[in-house]
Symmetry: C2
Subunit: 414 residues, 2 copies
């Protein structure tokens, strides 16, 4: 049993749209204990779709495809699958009724294109789209399965969760797979390898190890599969425990956990609050905190002081200090953090001021220079960064770096 994922759309092939569906589908399938062989993206061309289906079915017995089920003329999937499986479209009364009800609920009137979504292939199983008009389709022929889902992520996800995964698990016995990822920050990949050499040499042979570097983070993924779930879990736990003993100060979380989520857990547990005073990161740190469900328990608010006047008026930064040392300076971020902590009445506050780039700020300071500070209940710590001239990468790397410093501080303080 193996699965190929096929996403269809000219927009993918010309790089206009990032294909996020296949990655999400791959994760769900992997979590269900089934295996993805390949992910393929091709254009909206009948010939390419049919060729690729033929090729994929040689390697995999299940193809999950998304896209091309919309109501407009450029959506080809339904037509092509009819041709591929020698099928034809018929009016499906149940789906027609569903479409009418859907529009009624939205106080809208369906048009011809919407109604046409009720014409579906005869031979396949129809997967109901509770929140849209594009039905899913499940074709089966000679023990091969082709499952077509809409490209709209929310619709595709609902069908995968409510129907596809369940039915795949009934058809194929899932294997036990454990993927455990340990997220580290602050050490380059090759230095990690040096420190972990002995640990790597002693890894159980069933464990597959991978290093995933991005910016100053490196994620270590340990993978294992086997028949006995408890025994493979014990193996992973044993090696992870050893890893924590070797590099405790570089680990910020496991699996999908972000640095800010690790911070939020400690803050909530210790009943501490935080506020922010952002200049060059312009709301990004605040956004990272408030993306976390329940962030109101620890996050009180921020001032985005993009303008020097705001730094003075809202955060009481001394204008003479700004004039003397510049807005991007140790003294200014110190005042921003200390004052923001006071004004917001929080236990902690982080401040950032930098030249995000690509343009200079008109001073002789280099593009990319960033100062950040953490006001703690006891003192104020300052940090200087220089990551380069790319604006978005400067914003992201600054956020990761200062959040990691806060995490270390929170872990080490009582």
């Amino acid at each position: 049993m193996s699965i190929s994922i096929l996403t269809i759309g000219d927009e993918l092939i010309i790089g206009q749209v990032q294909d996020t569906n296949s990655s999400w589908i791959a994760k769900e399938i992997n979590n269900a204990g089934l295996e993805v062989k390949k992910i393929i993206s091709i254009s909206d061309s009948e010939k390419d779709i049919i060729n690729t289906l033929n090729l994929c079915l040689k390697e995999s017995n299940i193809i999950i495809m998304t896209g091309g089920l919309g109501p407009t003329h450029d959506d080809l999937t339904k037509k092509v699958l009819c041709k591929f499986f020698n099928d034809s479209l018929v009016k499906n009364e149940k789906i027609l009724d569903h479409i009418i009800q859907l529009f009624k609920k939205r106080n809208k009137v369906p048009n011809e294109l919407n109604f046409h979504q009720a014409y579906l292939p005869k031979k396949c199983k129809i997967i109901l789209n509770k929140i849209g008009t594009a039905s899913g389709m499940w074709f089966e022929k000679n023990d091969s399965h082709v499952i077509a889902l809409p490209g709209v992520p929310s619709e595709m996800k609902m069908m995968m969760e409510n129907y596809v995964i369940k039915n795949l698990k009934l058809l194929f016995k899932p294997i036990n797979v454990i993927n455990k990822t340990i997220n580290t920050f602050g050490l380059p990949e090759t230095n990690l390898v040096e420190i972990l050499e002995e640990w790597m040499d002693n890894l159980d042979k069933k464990v597959k190890l991978a290093f995933l570097p991005s910016y100053n983070r490196v994620r270590l993924r340990l993978s294992i599969s086997g028949n006995n779930n408890e025994s493979i879990k014990n193996i992973i736990d044993y090696h992870v425990k050893k890893l924590y003993k070797i590099i405790p100060q570089y680990i910020f979380g496991e699996d999908q956990t972000t640095i800010e989520e690790s911070i939020s857990k400690i803050l909530i547990k210790k009943k501490l609050t935080i506020s922010l005073a952002e200049s060059c990161t312009g709301g990004y740190l605040s956004h990272l905190f408030t993306k976390i469900s329940g962030s109101s328990k620890f996050f009180k608010g921020s001032v985005i002081a993009y303008n020097n006047e705001i730094k003075t008026n809202f955060l009481n930064v001394d204008p003479i200090i700004i004039q003397k040392y510049g807005a991007v300076s140790k003294r200014v971020v110190n005042q921003m953090a200390v004052n923001s902590k006071k004004i917001f009445k929080t236990d902690y506050s982080i401040s950032v001021s930098g030249i995000a780039g690509p343009e200079s700020d008109g001073t002789d300071k280099p593009v990319g220079l960033t100062w950040a500070a953490i006001a703690t209940p006891e003192s104020c710590l300052t940090y200087k960064y220089k990551f380069g001239k790319n604006r978005v990468s400067n914003i992201q790397r600054t956020a990761n770096s200062i959040f990691f410093e806060l995490l270390l501080h929170l872990r080490n303080s009582k």
Copy 2:
């Protein structure tokens, strides 16, 4: 001539990491007038890599692959390509020197793994990695080309821009391709089709049209290719001009332009400024503005008033109003916007307060309810949204919706 893109990594196949490289490469190739046939992701397996190379070379004569060139044991690409092209690794003195210099510049000492990056296949052309240790490799055999690049996006991009695209253009005559995308907001796909029916019927036969819906946005992509660049440009311009006449009030920009970028252009041109008062969107609107290079010309700052106390203390929202109508109410966002405009001394201000979800805010108001306001130089406009229970989607859809209202207002005001 056709190109396949091949990305390698278990992390892609299990859905742990989103493959952003292939989409970026596809876009660059398309912009250069060359054609991508297929994008494929596979696991770090020698067998799979060799099988896929063989399959791809039947359809395409150029394969651009990324990933697996790192210094750690799980990186297989160099070894597999040696096998595939019957080649062997030799020490490359030039690259060795480059690695030594690179570490010297960073005040670090290379280790064995770093030095091993200087061992490279004999028969291929080596592509220098100015910012890293993983060299690119260009193999050629029987008029087929296999180009291997590192998976680190910044390193891959630099090699593509400085070497690969240039050399591909020398080898293959690019065709003229124009992709023009018109971004619309506020009309569902099927209604757009109805309104545009006549326009679509009269489209030049060379023009390929696609609808790309996501949330409340629909992007219309017009594609054309041909020998005469001016003639295909005229055809696209003609149809785009007609489109603007039919649906001017729904278009917010072209190609990669975002709603906030269109806003920023008008604000800068009219020398107007804006501030924000965000509650449930928690800094996301500020981040969207400050991502734009040059945003300090129109954006002065924000208060992220996540807590009611902050709404009162920083934005002078009447606590009696909060108590009587709740923080998520028309009156509160009205006060937030009007007061923030005053405090920040800006021409405009946007405020947002809502229950982003998935948890309720403890009142009887439904999860997903969001109020937003735009304080203009003349008055204050308020808007009510309800997008569902997903936190991140609520934040994003609110941002798009209120930004679109501001854009319409700015366009219609003198």
